[in-house]
Symmetry: C2
Subunit: 160 residues, 2 copies
Amino acid sequence: MFALDAETKAAEGPEHHRDELRLWLRLLTCTTMIEGEVRRRLRERFDVTLPRFDLMAQLDRAPQGLTLSNISKRMMVSNGNVTGLVDRLVETGHLERRAAPRDGRARLISLTPLGRAEFRAMAAEHETWIAEMFSGLGPGDVADLLRLLAKTKRSAAAAS
Amino acid sequence: MFALDAETKAAEGPEHHRDELRLWLRLLTCTTMIEGEVRRRLRERFDVTLPRFDLMAQLDRAPQGLTLSNISKRMMVSNGNVTGLVDRLVETGHLERRAAPRDGRARLISLTPLGRAEFRAMAAEHETWIAEMFSGLGPGDVADLLRLLAKTKRSAAAAS
């Protein structure tokens, strides 16, 4: 299951990177806590799943519509997962499919006026939940975190 | 699907919480990027899934063993998901089940020596990956982020 060099490293390696590991675990904990609470509130308040909310959020930011593979890429999930979600939201009248202007075979998916109205209502509440969850931070903290996480994002992208 | 007060709020509400929303999306992006890269490397390097690595990490931190519901709680996933994972790792000789000392009906799950050796080898490499992904941050940045994310964790916990 593992090569000898990894085993040797585990036995001999000095623990140089403890702070980065603690940082990663703390980042993960914060994200998991907030995401779990958002998921719970979306379900209780609107009877909506997080993937459905995320899909509508992507489409709200793209009024011209998105292809299925564009959506998958932005949501970082498989095409198959998105297809079922889109199908259900087309059936309920929240989304529509139409031919792309320059390529009749490609299908663009977008919010209907109903879908947009419902998403905007949920998004407004969602924004207050997020603000509530960060309310223990001062304005300086928020600015510092925004800057440091932008740096983290560049750093992680360079290593990927 | 939504109550009128939410709709009204969406239409009338001034956008006071844009920074917190940006902060949340940035936090989520950093976590998703790093987690995706860890997942990819675990698969390519060790042919191991992230849930399996996470389960072994929980057990490595608890040498006395954990019950199934303890593991579920720590991993924030359902009992059912953990059961299948534990079953497979017992079969391959990485985990063992035994009766709890004070309650013979309760079963404690722990790493076997094989499981511990394999986990430690993976964990050592994992630690270097994480360090690599945060290598664009200075030591001061890491300390600042640790402090600010501890504050975020307390804030999110208070709102949950």
